[in-house]
């Protein structure tokens, strides 16, 4: 394998050198995300045809995992020449030192920065340097049902705050049920647009937030929830397109992609909906989204890479890209093209783009955004007063941005690392040290050594050492600044651990995780064992069919599982609420009610995972000798006697294994809240591992995330230890 890899590398090197020598055959690699990664091929083909001898290698990166992929590519020295990059990711990659500054190139170029929308430039320009150029933009507008608006007496939504509020009231009055507007409570983008409109600013003039504007925005939005114009609960599991069609939500705020989604999946609605600008408060402001193009520092052909970037941002190519992909051009001149200028649904977007704003350019933005979500949700639920929420949020943001400029010498850091690694290693050594007096046979010992060798070698390199490494990291301030430069990492002792005690979200996560395990583990084991016994029953025919059926939830991809469960839990037309209404009970918001959300996820997790344990139980049941049952049959034993006196004792080892691994698994609860609720509402489904994952892979607070992992480890350890004690006592009793 390795020899093959070597040969391959040598071959590529030879290819590169010979290409460079021949002047022709220059090449660059370009990464783009998802569908754009496939479509950019068309732009690359055009570029290649205009520049003979040049090759552009395009590659598609999945959106899910794109952030992780880009970060690891930088760390692993595998980054491409050019990549598409989300506007909010720019500062992080700048902080990592991964992006090539483009100031010199922009100055001598035909590209005029003034041609682009001002909001789109913000994320590319910082500290007097250019780090990227805008590729495409998106912004948010109002989508509304024009037929229902007409019924309510409006030809178009008013363009001021007060008028928009009255419009929403009229819209609700004009129909029988539902709401007037879908307005997520935990979406910082939605909040920021209204906050900007009311004159608010983020991190300007030394203030994290503008006093007054924050309170006004919360008060304005809260009216929509208090007066049932928009649901406080139940927005999340709703399928927006269907709710728009039924009139449950006759209006919502979203981006340009919704145009084609509505046109293709709800053709029956055509002509009955329109787009409009968001209302203006003290000023106009929408959210500036979209993507930039950046060049990585290690690019081997910077002139060619720049040429391709320039090519993609010419007005001609920008308009062409809209035709290829449907992405809105960042270059204003491209909007003169007939396909864009003549589209009535796009004109509100064109207007909003002039005044749309981007969030501040700081590497810690993801953490700040999560803090905004949290504070705004609490204020909208009425748990905190708006002014108290602002003060708390300001303090949180200041805390996130506070940088500990600690410099430690490399020698000191190496010494501490070695000491920290030696700590567990010594403990293990002391624990394992041989007590004399072995009377074992040498031959068996030697064989045992050979038998455990392969597994132990793999585990040592890929499990034990990484564990030591992450344990050491839990005592450091390792974050995005140090991810690619260990010189910026410093030891901070137990600070991460002590910070956990005052981390509200961590404590909520710990509580939820324990509840999840206490209910989920017994329930899951009960279901698995019952079904395994049923599968093992002699009278059952078509065994293979039933076995496969029970294992299907395990192998069905989480994406499909998530969609169907969201639909089952849908408050408007889901099966659970249909059952409730047939019993004469009120409908429930399964995933967005803070009492029901966690139980709903437990049910789903048990459904998804029971197949694993069923198979293990079944394998164990198969090996119980039939003769044991036959002997007790003669005595005329009942079914339950057989279960208690033969099946259960014979399953002892398996039962123990399943209890331990299932407990560990449930205490590491992650996938369900990650996909279904994102930890909401109000952190009611936040789990320790989800919180850890967000800190580790979204905020890149790797030191803090590691500390969280070892705090959880301590909890799991206590539980497992107790289970072992019980097992031991049982064995002694037996």
């Amino acid at each position: 394998m390795k020899a093959f890899g070597m040969a391959f590398r040598v071959a590529t090197l030879i290819l590169c050198f010979s290409a460079a020598g021949a002047q022709a055959g220059e090449r660059i690699t370009v990464w783009a995300m998802g569908a754009e990664g496939k479509l950019i091929r068309q732009a690359a083909d055009l570029f290649e045809s205009r520049n003979p001898g040049v090759r552009v290698i395009t590659q598609s990166i999945p959106w899910t995992g794109a952030h992780e992929k880009l970060v690891t590519a930088v760390i692993g020295d595998m980054a491409p020449d050019i990549s598409q990059m989300g506007t909010t990711w720019m500062p992080e990659f700048k902080a990592m030192g991964a992006i090539e500054p483009l100031t010199g190139l922009v100055k001598g170029s035909t590209i005029k920065p003034g041609d682009f929308f001002p909001g789109a430039l913000e994320s590319n320009f910082s500290g007097g340097e250019w780090y990227g150029i805008p590729w495409y933009v998106d912004t948010r507008v109002l989508f509304y049902r024009s037929d229902l608006a007409k019924k309510a007496g409006y030809d178009a939504p008013p363009e001021d705050w007060e008028g928009f509020y009255r419009f929403s009231k009229a819209l609700l009055a004009a129909k029988e049920s539902g709401y007037s507007l879908s307005l997520p409570t935990n979406d910082w983008q939605i909040f920021l647009m209204f906050y900007w409109q009311s004159g608010g600013e983020l991190l300007q003039g030394g203030e994290p937030l503008t006093p007054g504007s924050f309170e006004r925005t919360v008060a304005y939005l809260k009216r929509f929830f208090d007066e049932k114009l928009s649901p406080l609960e139940g927005g999340r599991e709703m399928d927006l397109l269907t709710a728009f069609e039924s009139g449950h939500f006759p209006a919502f705020i979203s981006g340009p992609w919704m145009i084609s989604q509505l046109e293709t999946s709800k053709p029956g609605l055509n002509g009955r909906w329109a787009t409009a600008r968001l209302p203006g408060g003290e000023r106009r402001a929408s959210f500036m989204g979209g993507c930039n193009l950046v060049m990585f520092r290690n690019s081997g052909n910077k002139p060619l890479a720049w040429k391709f970037m320039e090519f993609l941002s010419t007005p001609e190519m920008q308009a062409r890209w809209y035709e290829i992909s449907g992405d809105l051009p960042a270059n204003r001149k491209a909007w003169n093209a007939a396909s864009l200028a003549g589209n009535k649904k796009l004109s509100p977007f064109r207007k909003e783009l002039e005044t749309a704003k981007a969030p501040p350019q700081i590497p810690e933005w993801e953490s700040v955004a999560a803090a905004i979500d949290d504070a705004v949700e609490e204020a909208l639920y009425g748990k905190t007063e708006p002014s108290a929420a602002r003060e708390k949020l300001s303090a949180d943001i200041a805390g996130i941005l506070k940088k500990s400029e600690r410099t430690q010498s490399a020698a000191f850091k190496i010494a501490v690392s070695i000491l920290l690694c030696l700590l567990p290693v010594t403990a293990v050594f002391l624990y394992l040290r041989k007590k004399g007096g072995d009377a074992e046979k040498k031959r068996v010992q030697y064989a045992a050594f050979l038998f455990i060798m392969p597994a132990m070698a793999v585990l040592t390199v890929f499990l034990f050492i990484p564990i030591l490494g992450s344990f050491t990291a839990s005592m450091t301030n390792w974050n995005m600044y140090g991810i690619n430069d260990f010189g910026k990492v410093a030891f901070i002792g137990l600070e991460n651990y002590s910070a956990l005690f005052s981390d509200r979200i961590f404590l909520a996560g710990l509580r939820n995780t324990l509840v999840f395990a206490f209910i989920g583990v017994p329930l899951g084991i009960f279901v698995s064992l019952s079904l395994a016994i049923a599968l093992n029953a002699q009278i059952l025919r078509f065994k293979a069919f039933f076995r496969v059926s029970y294992f299907i939830p395990v192998i069905t991809t989480m994406v499909a599982v998530a969609i169907i469960w969201r639909w089952l839990y849908n408050p408007e037309f889901g099966i659970f609420n249909m059952l409730l209404s047939s019993l004469g009970l009120p409908a429930q918001n399964w995933l967005s009610n803070k009492w029901l959300a966690l139980p709903s996820l437990i049910v789903m997790a048990v459904w998804k995972g029971f197949g694993y344990n069923t198979m293990i139980f079944l394998a164990a049941l198969q090996s119980i000798p039939e003769s044991l049952y036959e002997s007790i049959d003669i005595d005329g034993a009942s079914w339950s006697q057989k279960f208690w006196y033969i099946t259960l004792p014979m399953l002892r080892n398996t039962f123990f294994f399943i209890t331990v691994t299932t407990t560990i698994g449930y205490l590491q609860f992650f996938a369900e809240p990650y996909i279904m609720t994102g930890g909401g509402p109000m952190n009611a489904t936040m789990s320790v591992v989800l919180h850890m994952y967000r800190h580790g892979f979204k905020f890149y607070n790797l030191g803090y995330a590691s500390a969280m992992a070892y705090a959880l480890f301590a909890v799991v350890f206590v539980f497992t230890f107790l289970q072992f004690r019980v097992q031991k006592r049982k064995e002694e009793a037996a």
């Binding site: 590659q59 585990l459 299907i552 991809t557 198969q622 000798p625």
Partner: protein, 273 residues
Amino acid sequence: MKKQLSKTAFYAFMLISVAITLFPFIWMISTSFKPPDEIFTKHPSLFPSRFTLDGYRQLFAAVSMWTHLFNSVIYAVFVTILSVLFNSMAAYAFAKLRFPGREKLFALLLVTMMVPGQVTMLPVFLILKSMGLLNTYAGLIIPGSAAVFAIFMIRQFMAEIPEEILEAARIDGLSEFSIFWRIILPLCRPIIATLAVFSFIGAWNDFLWPLIIMLREDKYTLPVALASANGQYNTDWAFLMAGAVVVVIPAVLIFLLAQKHYIKGIAAGAVKG
């Protein structure tokens, strides 16, 4: 009569439970054949009223299926083979071979299982980088070839095998390796089959690890390739579900193949003999 009744009740219970587990799966298959306007409606039908292959047609046009299928098969098959071999060997030593510190070492392994896997991912990545194994099949496969969970599972099963069988074999002069290979493994067929299925499906459905380890698009595994054809906001559900169906078929086949090894009474027969 009573027996007949309880049999009917039993089958009714089995069919209801199967309906609950199969429902999303059937929905996934049916969605993959639906036109876009039929997918999200207030009262979705289980079967498409207008049957279309567009989802599959787009899928095969957007993704070079055979390349990625090949990568996925390589990854899953090698992980499965190595995992079955390494883990069952270690499990045998922990269950049946006496060596000093055995119980303690085993307890230590269990302790490592309690560290959430997410924190070791980046360190493992850095180790592979220092070994020059990034972007290679070896780097993709080897870290997954031994797992504490698997050793624990098989060890618990092997511990149930009566000591007399081994004693008899040792008296017959069999080496430890032949005892493992010719006596223990056949006795453990159901649990080995279970482990093989778990390993295969774990690798087959794996997403983040193959994504960050493999650099070039032509080295992507099937789930990574399918995910990379999706838009950020625009989701083409028929396309997505067609991909899910294509991924799930081999997993179901592997399971069907493996479950044949759940044969009643292998161990029982051996004990008697």
